[in-house]
Symmetry: C2
Subunit: 91 residues, 2 copies
């Protein structure tokens, strides 16, 4: 019988991995124009809450992948802010 932790870790690895192409594409193209802040904040809050849920259940397969995904989303938000500064004029 496959342990549930293993299933959780595989699931988490896949859903986290599916973010990597987007982060790589945004980094290489220096562009995040198509990513909306709203979607990024909703997703960021969601993955942060999943990580908190994992802490409450004391389940590492939920905590670990969602913390990494949360980090990737914060990276996307940071890139979007730096590549497309709203307030300041473009240098």
């Amino acid at each position: 019988m496959i342990s549930n932790a293993l299933v959780g870790y595989i699931a988490g690895t896949l859903t986290t991995a599916s973010f990597l192409p987007q982060v790589w594409h945004s980094f290489r193209s220096r562009s995040c124009r198509d990513l909306s802040y709203a979607m990024l904040f909703v997703m960021g809050t969601g993955t942060a809450l999943w990580a908190i849920y994992g802490v409450m259940l004391q389940r590492w397969p939920i905590i670990l992948p969602n913390s990494i995904t949360f980090g990737l989303i914060c990276t996307l938000i940071g890139m979007k802010a730096s590549y497309h500064p709203r307030a300041k004029e473009r240098r």
Copy 2:
């Protein structure tokens, strides 16, 4: 003390909701060119496994949102296949 189920449901609602703009955008624009099959299949498999993980733990806050997200991803794959048929010539 907030119940862990509530945290899980909020997390699940947010991460599922963050898919809706993409499904709506693809449906309205009749275009999924920027979505790669590889990313969709990885994400679809990941969310399906999260749902199975939820069944193993008997936790509805994990089962429900991930099943819905899995359905949304299947919808995106279906749209991509119908809007951009590979084999047949465009009618």
